[in-house]
């Protein structure tokens, strides 16, 4: 099976204010296969967000290559970041329709896709609400619906569960999982939270302190039920691997 996206030896550095070079990514390579969720787990500020920007085509690497049949950036990319905001002057439905409108779909088609996506994230009935009238968790789900309405093949999620309570986390995880399985899409989630990684991932890749390299991989058993408890046991192993990764680079 060919991966939906395959990155080889991605390198990226930034120029520091004093003129020196700050290496952020040091030869990162990974494959994303259809139907799987991969989590990148590492400390804050280790370049995870930079990597996501490069993979989604918003930034270019200094070295390395990315193979994918999917246009990046493009309508088949579903990027979600903790800093994303809904447009406060648009209703929930109009916010979800935004991506469709921006990529040239007709208003009617966008509207229909928005309705479907809102149903999918469990917010049917909130179409005419404004973002200010929704809770933080609901807003996150609207942001997710906004991505899903475009039926993307590659999801790039930057700490999608920050600011969510445990129930909202479970809902969001279920949503992402179902979407990825049904649409044969792939999701790459970057996070510094062990819990978030365990909630979501099929595979967890560990990222060292900067300059970031990948140091290990844990594959999590497929969870048929709403696997929080099953995943709880895995958390131990994940935590140990994370400490080892961070310790090794220090």
């Amino acid at each position: 099976m060919t991966p939906l996206l395959s990155a080889h030896r991605i390198e990226k550095s930034f120029i520091k204010p004093d003129g020196g070079k700050l290496a952020v990514l040091d030869g990162i390579g990974l494959d994303l296969f259809a139907g799987e969720i991969v989590c990148l787990l590492g400390a804050s500020g280790c370049g995870k967000t930079t990597l996501l920007r490069i993979l989604s085509g918003l930034d270019t690497p200094d070295a390395g290559s990315i193979d994918s049949a999917i246009a990046r950036p493009g309508p088949q990319i579903g990027a979600f970041s903790q800093n994303d905001l809904l447009l406060p002057w648009r209703t929930t439905a109009a916010n979800v329709a935004l991506g469709m409108e921006l990529t040239g779909h007709g208003t009617k088609q966008a509207r229909q896709a928005a309705m479907d996506a809102l149903q999918q994230v469990g917010l049917g009935g909130f179409e005419t609400h404004y973002p200010a009238q929704l809770s933080g968790g609901m807003q996150q789900r609207v942001l997710l619906a906004r991505i899903m309405a475009l039926r993307p093949k590659l999801l790039f999620l930057d700490e999608p569960m920050s600011n969510l309570d445990v129930l909202a986390r479970r809902d969001l995880a279920t949503l992402v999982k179902n979407y990825v399985r049904e649409e044969e899409a792939a999701a790459l989630v970057v996070t510094h939270s062990v819990e978030e990684a365990c909630f979501l991932a099929d595979r967890i890749l560990f990222v060292t302190r900067p300059p970031a390299r990948l140091s290990g991989e844990i594959r999590l058993a497929d969870d048929k039920a709403d696997g929080i408890l099953a995943r709880g046991e895995a958390m131990d192993a994940v935590m140990r691997e994370l400490w080892r990764t961070l310790g090794a680079a220090a």
């Binding site: 935004l98 991506g99 921006l102 973002p131």
Partner: protein
């Protein structure tokens, strides 16, 4: 209800106190009454004036000048601001010119506008419009930048074409900034129109005040000032209507 009533009472209290003290201060002293007039004398003047058609004409002349100037200045300034935001080259080239023209005190322009546009409506609209233009420009410019920072991530990741991004996100997003600029500009537009009238005119509240002060008719001068403030309130409330129309549910 009682709380609302109490708040209104507390808001009116200082005015009542001031008017009472004023009336008491000048009471029975002709010299003081001549210099400072009194609330009852202003009321008498108002009562007499409202019987004549000329005061209504003066009110509508000034309102028309300020409103037309405010409208044209806001529209031109907003378009210019969005243009500068959209094109970095024009932005760089025009920046010193904007600072140059923006620093001209509106007073200094009055003689030229009278020479160029006559003593009628046109010169006052130009004055009011000029007074408004630069703040509108800055508001639209800053607003568009803020909107871009907050909402562009998603649009970029799906490779939305620029024209649609501007139309669907930047323009509606900058409206709040434009409305805020409009509120600041109500006073500036009135000043522009008023100065134009002061320098040369045949009607309007500036003309009315100038005429009354030439006759040392203090009650009518104060009455004219009161009318200008009321015009300011009326024009500001148009912004409230705009904001109410643009609901966001908060």
């Amino acid at each position: 209800m009682t709380k609302k009533f109490k708040n209104i009472f507390l808001a009116v209290l200082p005015a009542l106190f001031f008017l009472g003290a004023w009336q008491w201060f000048v009471h029975g002293n002709q010299r003081l009454e001549f210099l400072f007039a009194s609330p009852s004398l202003v009321a008498q003047a108002a009562w007499a004036e409202f019987g004549h058609a000329t005061i209504w004409n003066d009110i509508f002349v000034t309102l028309g000048e300020a409103a037309l100037g405010l409208l044209s200045g806001t529209i031109l300034g907003t378009v210019a601001g969005l243009l500068l935001w959209g094109n970095g080259k024009i932005d760089k080239i025009t920046r010193p010119y904007i600072v140059f023209f923006g620093s001209i005190p509106i007073f200094a322009l009055a003689p030229m506008t009278i020479i160029w546009f006559g003593i009628g409506l046109a010169s006052k609209v130009v004055m009011a419009g000029f007074a408004v233009f630069f703040i509108s420009l800055l508001q639209a410019y800053e607003g568009a930048h803020a909107v871009a920072r907050q909402y562009f991530g998603f649009a970029r990741s799906i490779a939305a074409p620029n024209a649609r991004v501007v139309w669907k996100i930047v323009v509606p997003g900058a409206i709040d900034w434009v409305i805020a600029g409009y509120k600041m500009n109500v006073g500036a537009a009135l000043v522009g129109a008023f100065i134009g009238e002061f320098v040369s005119s045949e009607a309007g509240l500036g003309y009315y005040i100038l005429k009354a002060s030439a006759l040392y008719d203090v009650p009518r001068v104060l009455f004219g000032i009161l009318l200008i403030s009321l015009l300011g309130i009326a024009m500001t409330s148009a912004a409230w209507l705009l904001q109410a129309w643009r609901k966001t549910g908060s």
